[in-house]
Amino acid sequence: MQLDNLYQEVILDHYKNPQNKVLASDNDAQVHHVNPSCGDEVTLGVKLDGDKIASINWDGVGCSISQASTSIMSDLLIGKSLDEATAISEDFLHLMQSKGSEEGNPDVLEDAVALAGVSKYPARIKCALLGWMAFKDASVQAHSKEEK
C-alpha cells in the first residue's frame, strides 16, 4: 500500500515511544511552536555545552508525523555541534521539499530518512518540520544567549 511509504515502521515506533519527550528545567532556551492549520503544538528546549548540543528535550501534542519527526530529530542532533546540526537540518528540509524524488542520505539523516515519504503529501510536510523549526529557533536563541 502506498500509505506504507508515509507510515514507516520507524515512524510508528518513535510515535509510540518518543525520545527525549520530557521537558528539562535548565534549558538555555525554550520555545513553543504551533502548526496553525491543524493545532499541533511542540514545546522544545535546548541546552548547549559550548558549541555542542548537550540536550534537546520537548513536549507536545500532534500527529504521528510531527511527534515522530521531533523524536527522531532530537535523537539525531544531541551531541552534534551547532554547525553539524544546521547542515543536517538543511538536508532534511531539502528532503521534505523533494516531492518524493529523493530518498535521503542515511549516513547523514539516519532514522530521519524514514520520513522521506512525507514529501509526497504536501499537507504533512509542515507536520514533519514542526520540531525541526522549533529546534532551529531554540538553538539560535540559546547560542545568542551564550555569546553574551
Binding site: 500500500m1 510508528l12 493545532g39 500527529c63 510531527s66
Partner: protein, 415 residues
C-alpha cells in the same frame, strides 16, 4: 419527486473521477466546501461567453444583459432568504460579509446607532468559527467595547442559563452561528433574538452551515444581519452574501469604498448611494453571482426540505454506527435533536491527522484539525478532531465506507 442522491450525483461531474489508485470518491468534507453541479458551471460560463460586461456602467447591450443577470441573481438570493431585493449584498465570502458588518460598525460616527464606545457590549459564543470571532475581537479592540460570550456545555450546546446577564442593556451586537461547523449543533435563535431586541441590540447570524442545508427565512427568524458563502451551497468560489434588514442598511456606514457605490465625489469627500450599491464597491463578481443563483435554483428544485431530511437520516445512521465503535468519542451532540450533518469525533489515540490520512488512502475525504474554531476545541478538551460533513449527494454507502475506514485505520495503526 422522490429524493435519490445517487441520481443527483450524476449532476456533479467531480464524482466521475477517482481518488488514490482508482478508488471511488467518498466526499465527506462539504462543511469545508461543497461540490458543484454542472448547472452552476454552465451559468458562470454562459455569462463569460455571451454576456460579459461591467454591470451598471455601460449603455451598451452587453452591459444591459450583464446587469439583468447580476440583478436577477440578487432577486434569486432575496427570494431564497425571504428577503427584499435591495437587502442582498454580494461579497466574496462569508468571511468578507462578517468583516463588512464589523468594520462598517467601526466606521459609524457618534449619533449613528451602530457607533460603539467603551462600555458597549459585543456578544459572541464559544462555538464561533474564527470568521465570526476575530472580526468582533478587532472591533472591540478598536472601539473599547467589551467582548463577552455564551459558553458551550460538554454536550456541545449553548449554555443560555445566564442569557439575561450575557445579553444586557449595554449589548449592541449579538453575533452567533446558526449551526456549528464543528459540533453540528443548531442553535436556538428565538430566545436569543428576543432578548437581543429587548435590549436594542442587533443579531448577526453566521448562516454558513445552515443556508445550504435547510430553509432559512430571515423574516421568520427576525434577525438583523446574515452571512453565508456561495461555495458551501453548491455555488462557485469567490462569492458570498451579506444580508441586512433594509432599515438598518440605510444607517450602516459603508465598508469597501470605490466605484459604483457613490452618489457624489470630490477630491475631499464622497457621499454614498443607497443599499445595496453602497456596499458593493467596484466591478462585482458577476459570473460568480450568476453561478450562485444557479446553485440556489438547483437547491430549490431538489427541495431544501428533502435535503434536510436526507441529511438527518444519514446523520442518524452514522451516529448509530459510531455509537457501536469502541473508543470513538463524538464531539458534539450524539443525538439528532437540533443538529445537522457535521459530525466531529476523536478515535482512541489515533491522531485525527493520521486517521484522515488513512481515510484518504481509501478515497474518503474528511477534514481534520481545529476547523477554524480553536477556542471551541480547547473548550471541548480536544486539540483536534476528525470531521465528516454530509450533503445531498452523500449516500448510505458513503457512511458505510467511513465506518469501515475507521475500523481499518485501527488495524493499520495498531500493527
Amino acid at each position: 419527486m422522490s429524493f435519490d442522491p445517487v441520481a443527483l450525483r450524476r449532476d456533479f461531474p467531480i464524482f466521475d473521477r477517482t481518488i488514490r489508485d482508482g478508488r471511488r470518491l467518498v466526499y465527506l468534507d462539504s462543511g469545508a466546501t461543497s461540490q458543484k453541479p454542472q448547472a452552476v458551471m454552465d451559468a458562470e460560463i454562459d455569462f463569460y461567453r455571451h454576456h460579459n460586461a461591467a454591470v451598471h456602467r455601460g449603455a451598451h447591450q452587453l452591459a444591459e444583459e450583464a446587469t439583468d443577470i447580476y440583478e436577477g441573481a440578487r432577486l434569486t438570493v432575496a427570494e431564497f432568504l425571504n428577503a427584499e431585493e435591495d437587502e442582498v449584498i454580494f461579497t466574496k465570502s462569508a468571511t468578507e460579509s462578517l468583516n463588512l458588518v464589523a468594520y462598517a460598525m467601526g466606521n459609524a460616527k457618534v449619533g449613528n446607532r451602530f457607533h460603539l464606545t467603551a462600555g458597549d457590549g459585543i456578544v459572541v459564543t464559544e462555538m464561533e468559527h474564527h470568521a465570526n470571532l476575530i472580526p468582533w475581537q478587532q472591533l472591540a479592540e478598536r472601539t473599547g467595547a467589551l467582548l463577552t460570550w455564551f459558553e458551550v456545555t460538554p454536550e456541545g450546546r449553548l449554555d443560555l442559563s445566564n442569557i439575561n446577564s450575557v445579553i444586557n442593556e449595554k449589548t449592541k451586537v449579538v453575533a452567533l452561528t446558526h449551526q456549528s461547523n464543528v459540533l453540528g449543533t443548531i442553535n436556538p435563535l428565538e430566545a436569543i433574538v428576543k432578548r437581543a431586541h429587548e435590549v436594542g441590540a442587533v443579531v448577526v447570524l453566521d448562516a454558513c452551515q445552515s443556508v445550504p442545508h435547510m430553509a432559512v427565512d430571515v423574516k421568520a427568524l427576525d434577525i438583523d444581519f446574515l452571512a453565508f458563502s456561495g461555495h458551501k451551497a453548491l455555488g462557485p468560489t469567490g462569492v458570498g452574501v451579506f444580508w441586512g434588514r433594509g432599515s438598518l442598511l440605510e444607517e450602516l456606514p459603508p465598508f469597501l469604498t470605490g466605484g459604483s457605490m457613490i452618489e457624489n465625489v470630490t477630491m475631499t469627500g464622497a457621499t454614498w448611494a443607497p443599499a445595496p450599491r453602497k456596499f458593493e464597491a467596484g466591478v462585482p463578481n458577476m459570473a460568480q453571482a450568476a453561478g450562485l443563483a444557479a446553485a440556489l435554483k438547483y437547491l430549490n428544485a431538489v427541495g431544501l426540505e428533502n435535503i434536510h431530511n436526507h441529511e438527518i437520516e444519514l446523520t442518524t445512521y452514522l451516529l448509530n454506527k459510531f455509537a457501536d465503535i469502541e473508543n470513538l468519542r463524538i464531539v458534539g451532540p450524539n443525538n439528532i435533536e437540533s443538529r445537522g450533518g457535521s459530525i466531529s469525533f476523536t478515535f482512541g489515540d489515533i491522531h485525527p491527522h493520521d486517521l484522515g490520512q488513512f481515510l484518504d488512502s481509501q478515497g474518503i475525504a474528511v477534514r481534520t484539525g481545529h476547523h477554524c474554531a480553536w477556542p471551541l476545541n480547547r473548550k471541548m478538551g480536544v486539540p483536534a478532531t476528525t470531521r465528516a460533513s454530509l450533503y445531498l449527494y452523500n449516500t448510505h454507502e458513503d457512511c458505510d465506507a467511513l465506518v469501515q475506514g475507521i475500523l481499518d485505520a485501527e488495524k493499520y495503526f495498531g500493527r
